[in-house]
Structures are given as structure tokens and as C-alpha cells.
Amino acid sequence: MLERSNVVYVYDGTYYGLMCCVFESFYSHEIPCAIVADSAQQLSMLPPKFIETDTDKAHRVMRSIPNKISAKAEELVKLCFLSQLDDKELLILDFLKKGYKYGARVVYMLADDTVNKISKAVKNLTNEAHHFKGFVRFKVYDDMMFSQIEPKNYVLPLIKHHFCDRFPNESFVIYDKTHCQALVYKPYSSAIIQVDKVDLDEPDETEMKYQQLWRDYYNAIAIEQRYNPRCRMTHLPKRFWGDMTEFQSPSKLISKQKAES
């Protein structure tokens, strides 16, 4: 029987690390009152227990999920880990506990609070990832294309395949400013790496021209008599605008050019 305890697990923030927390919880028959990543701020006064990341233990837990619960449960846990949910670690622990008890049907127990929260968080993540397949904007440089996004969830792993498949012969970077990560692709390999800061030059004239053409298109396609900012806001909330070309003001280069011609 697992017991509620007032201990806080601190782990390295990786999926493997979290799996070790699960291991620890079962091994010591205790349920921590929180599981926090190293880097996350610790406001709690409760005693921390540092959980070491041990590949072996992690693998044992990871194998048990498809074996004892289901492949679908494994997918849900992996996705939930990429979500923005504050207490996702504890929820995953609780979900697995229930999974070991009820087996494969745990993923269908949508009326259960934990299962419900997890499936909503996963929905939120996959929705956001889908949005970014459309909202990503590349600036084209001589030898590569660059894009910056500020997602709430960790969407890069979910949009990786889509963009690598879309531009197989280009080199590109999608920089997730929120989580300081970047998807880097060069024909024909890709990686998601930690990046703290990005410095880029002003793009060239051709790039500026297409940016302006896109802004012109964006403005010309709207029908004035149907103007409906509220509807736009529902589909495309302001938080996305900052990184999208159509909402950025033209750079000096292009306005100078226009004045000259």
C-alpha cells in the first residue's frame, strides 16, 4: 500500500528522471506531495528528496507501461510529459498507479479526475502543435531558414516530422523561445537541442520583399463588411502574433525602397 508522505521529489526534468521518481515511489511505498524539476523554482518548505536518474530503473518502469497497461497508456504518458500542466509529474504517477490496478481500460476512464486532466492536457498539447504547423513563419537566409515560436507546451517533438518532411532539402531552425530549445534540420538529419540565445542578421532584400507581399496579401484577403476581430481572436489569439510576419511592421529597408520608387 502506498502512503501519502510530505516529501518532495526533485528530479532532473527529463523523462527518464521522472520514470525514476515513479520507481522510487513504488519502491519506498510513498506518494510524494510534489515532484519538481531541478530547474523549477522551489517554494516549498517541505523536505526534498533528490532522485537520481538511473537508466536501468527508468527502463524497468518504461517497459512495464506497455506490458502491464497498454501502448495507448504509454503514448498518453509521454505526451502528457510534454504538456504545460503544472503538476504533470504527480498526475502521471497517479495515472500509472491506476493503470497498474485497472489495466488497459484506464485510458478510457474519462470520468476519473486524473485521467480527465491528463487527456485534456494532451489535447491541449496536440492542438497547440497543430496550430504551430500553420503559425510557424520562416525567414529565409542564404543558407538556411529560421523561425521563432513561443509555445506553452513542448511542441517541437510533435512538429518535427511534419517540417522535416515538408522541406527535406532545406536547412532550417525552429527556435522555441519559451523553453530555450531548437529543432535543427539539415538534409537529412534533425535534432532538438538546448539553445539559450539566438543572434541573427537582418535578412536580405528578397526576404523583405516577400514579407511585404505576404502582409499585402493578408490585408487584401479580408472582406471589410465582414470585419470580425472577435472571431479572429478566438482562432488566432494575440499571444501568437508577435512571431508572425503578417503582424510585424515592415522593416526600414522596405519602406525606404518604397519611398524611392
Binding site: 476512464m109 474519462l110 504547423k133 500553420g134 513563419r137 529565409v140 532539402n169 493578408y218 472582406i223 470585419y227
Partner: protein, 440 residues
């Protein structure tokens, strides 16, 4: 004329076409060329009118030899004209696509010289994109009525989706407003496309490498509110297009008054946006909810109720079929409950396998209880303390858009008080219309 000018003119001329979806085909780049395609479609932006921008929606040219009264590009309209070359358009598409502005191209055109020539221009553009640039993104091409079957075939092999716009929902309206077009003229290419798609499916079974013909199917568009045609006529036509011509989508476009032709609504008429919205809701019911057009409207009730959505309207006039129990009702039955949609119905089916559902569960599953509670029971029980009178139900069914509509009407002095349905008669679309026009 530079490309900036052309883009502005030819986008402005294309914007009244509502279709912008990029759905219906899954295709990987396979590592060669540029681009892929996702069956569910991807929205890249939303314009100030709240509509999705997925494709570069543009005309080859806005010169036109025809003179359809409802169209900005009609021959006699005094506007600036422009034309793209196939190369210019293909380059623009590639450059927008690479920057991930768009999912692909939606190319249409005014009729320049003759239908065949126009169609050839579109084909030339798509050939550059597909064959020269290796473009694997989405292409929606307008099939030009009157172009030869051979050209239509060429076009269909290059495009993912094709469309022929019906524009006006009846032959009479067509005669009046688009004298150069006829019903046959529009339906003929639709039939050709349907048959080619059918042939293609069997070809694909036989030889793996048969080129795909319009794999994302065909769609059409109808203008709403330019003519006196009723919702009943429009919805029936929509249904038969789905059945007879196997269309993937029928789009509706609220008429934007553009000229002072005495045959058309005057320039200060407001576009019937709510009506367009109701038609889309009904279209949804046909496609995903198993409704038939004849269940939603009939000879006596030819227009949708502006206050409540079509499903509610149906439910209110079929109260004898309710309540249904969420723990036992079939999926199809759940779908007919106001406040339960495709997603929540699916979730109910899944969740009730592991426990008996109670009202507090339903909210978590995405059911809109405010509306659904009057039509459902949970294991035989209704919501505790729920008062059910027809009046209360109706008040809770009125949608936000319906409310705004009513507000506007009151403000404009249309009628002084919104006292609806205090007698015992069943509510129908016609009643509400009467009520709104002050006859009740």
C-alpha cells in the same frame, strides 16, 4: 505593373470565394521536391474578418468576358484589371510556401478570351509548380465551365481539389443574373469530375501508379441572399449535390452588395451573416450528424430560425423523442441532443464503458449541460431541481448569435418586446420568423 500591385488587385478579386480549406489528402514529400499535405488541413492565419487563411487564394486574371451581375469582375464593372503570368504565380506560390505562410494554392480566374484558353493558363501554372519545382503542397483549382473535357482531365491530374461554383441556387436566378451561364453548363463539368474520380479509384486498384485525379475531391459554393431562394431550396440542393455529385464540401457565401443593379439587394443591405452561419450548421448536420434535409426544413418552414440553431430547432419540434438516457442511448441518438457534439458523444460512449455516468461527469466530457439537460437523463434521473417548461427550454436554447440578432432587431425598433412562445404551440422556424416579424 509590379507584382505588389498585381497581388493586391488579384487577391481583392478572389476574396469572395469562401473555400480556403486544404483538407482531404495525405501526401509526404518522400524526400524529394518541396512540400507535403495533411488530410485534416492546416490553417496558417486568420484574416481580420475571422476567416481561415490556408491557401494563397488568387486569380490568374480579373479580366472577364462574361457579365455575371453579382460579381465584381463582370465585364461592365469599371475596375482596375491585372493578370499574372504562370511563372510569376508559380514563383509567388513557392516563395510563400517556403516561408510557411501557406499550405498551397487556390487558383481561379476570370474568363479571358475563352474557357479553354483560361484553363490552359491555369494548367501552365500548375505544371511549373508540380513538374519543374517539384511542389507537393496542396492545390485547389477552379474548373472553368465550358472548357474541354481533355483540359479538365489535365487539370484534375495536377490539382488536389477541383471546384465549379454554382453561385446561384436556382435556374431562375441564374437566368436572371448570370445570362452567360446555365445550370447544365455548371453541372456538366461537375459530372465529368465525379466520373473521372470514380474511374481513377478503380484504376488505382488495378495499377498502383495511375496518376491521381483530384484526390481531395470537388467542392462548390453558393451565394446566399442575392436572390429570393430560400434555405429550404439551398439545403435540398446541397444534399443532392452531396448525393449525386459526391461533393466533398458545399460552401455558402453571404452576398456582399457590390453594385446598384435593380435585380440585386441594394448597396446598404447588410450581408446575411447569421443566415450563412445557420446554413453551415445545417450542412454540418447533414455531413456528420446523420440528418436529412427534409428533417430540418419543409415546404411550410422554408427558412431557418435565426434565434436557435437548426439542431435545437429540430429537437424543440420533436420533444416527444426526448429525454434520452446517456448511459444507454446509441451514438446516433446522442448526436441529436442539443449540447452534445461529435466529440462529446464519442467521449460518452468511451467513458460509460467503465462507469455509470452522472451529471457531474458529463461536464468533464464536454457536454454543454445548459442546453443538454432538458433532453437527457442519467440512469433515469434528471438534473436535480430542474424546472422543465417549454418557455424555460427555449430561453436556454437561444444561441449567442441569435441573442445578438434579437438585440439588434429590438434596437432598430423591429419589435418592442421579446416575449417568445408563451402559448403552448410547438415551436418551429416559421413561428419564430413570424414572431420576429411581429405577426404572432
Amino acid at each position: 505593373m509590379d507584382v505588389f500591385e498585381k497581388l493586391k488587385i488579384l487577391t481583392g478579386a478572389a476574396k469572395y470565394d469562401v473555400a480556403c480549406t486544404s483538407s482531404g489528402v495525405d501526401r509526404s514529400s518522400g524526400g524529394v521536391g518541396v512540400g507535403n499535405s495533411t488530410a485534416c488541413g492546416i490553417c496558417h492565419s486568420f484574416s481580420a474578418d475571422g476567416r481561415c487563411i490556408s491557401l494563397l487564394k488568387i486569380l490568374m486574371t480579373n479580366y472577364c468576358i462574361y457579365n455575371c451581375s453579382y460579381c465584381v469582375n463582370r465585364r461592365t464593372n469599371d475596375i482596375q484589371r491585372a493578370a499574372f503570368t504562370p511563372r510569376e504565380l508559380a514563383d509567388l506560390t513557392m516563395n510563400f510556401y517556403k516561408r510557411n505562410y501557406i499550405e498551397g494554392l487556390f487558383l481561379s480566374s476570370g474568363i479571358i478570351r475563352n474557357p479553354d484558353y483560361t484553363c490552359e493558363q491555369i494548367i501552365a501554372t500548375l505544371e511549373i509548380l508540380r513538374n519543374e519545382y517539384g511542389f507537393k503542397g496542396y492545390i485547389h483549382a477552379k474548373a472553368i465551365p465550358g472548357a474541354s473535357a481533355e483540359l479538365l482531365h489535365k487539370l484534375g491530374v495536377l490539382a488536389d481539389r477541383m471546384s465549379v461554383n454554382i453561385e446561384l441556387p436556382s435556374q431562375k436566378s441564374l437566368q436572371l443574373l448570370a445570362p452567360d451561364k446555365s445550370k447544365e453548363n455548371i453541372l456538366a463539368p461537375m459530372g465529368v469530375i465525379r466520373d473521372k474520380i470514380r474511374e481513377n479509384t478503380t484504376d488505382l486498384v488495378r495499377y498502383n501508379h495511375a496518376p491521381k485525379f483530384a484526390p481531395a475531391g470537388q467542392s462548390t459554393q453558393m451565394i446566399v441572399g442575392a436572390t429570393p431562394d430560400t434555405d429550404y431550396q439551398i439545403l435540398n440542393l446541397t444534399e443532392s449535390l452531396y448525393n449525386k455529385y459526391k461533393l466533398k464540401r458545399v460552401f455558402f457565401s453571404a452576398y456582399m452588395p457590390i453594385g446598384d443593379n435593380p435585380l440585386l439587394p441594394s448597396k446598404d443591405t447588410k450581408p446575411p451573416l447569421l443566415r450563412e452561419h445557420r446554413l453551415y450548421q445545417a450542412d454540418w448536420l447533414l455531413r456528420f450528424y446523420g440528418f436529412k434535409a427534409s428533417e430540418l426544413l419543409d415546404e411550410k418552414h422554408q427558412n431557418f430560425n435565426p434565434l436557435v440553431d437548426p439542431k435545437c430547432s429540430w429537437a424543440l419540434s420533436h420533444l416527444d423523442q426526448f429525454p434520452v438516457d446517456v448511459n444507454t442511448a446509441e451514438y446516433e441518438t446522442l448526436l441529436r441532443v442539443p449540447g452534445i457534439g461529435v466529440n462529446s458523444a464519442r467521449r460518452i460512449i468511451i467513458a460509460r464503458r467503465s462507469c455509470l455516468l452522472r451529471f457531474e461527469h458529463l461536464k468533464k466530457l464536454g457536454v454543454v449541460l445548459k442546453r443538454a439537460q432538458y433532453f437527457i437523463t442519467c440512469s433515469g434521473k434528471i438534473t436535480e431541481g430542474l424546472k422543465i417548461t417549454e418557455d424555460i427550454i427555449i430561453r436556454n436554447m437561444i444561441t449567442q448569435s441569435g441573442m445578438r440578432f434579437a438585440d439588434e432587431l429590438i434596437q432598430s425598433g423591429g419589435y418592442s418586446q421579446l416575449s417568445l412562445f408563451n402559448d403552448n404551440t410547438k415551436v418551429t422556424a416559421g413561428d419564430v420568423m413570424k414572431c420576429l416579424s411581429g405577426q404572432m
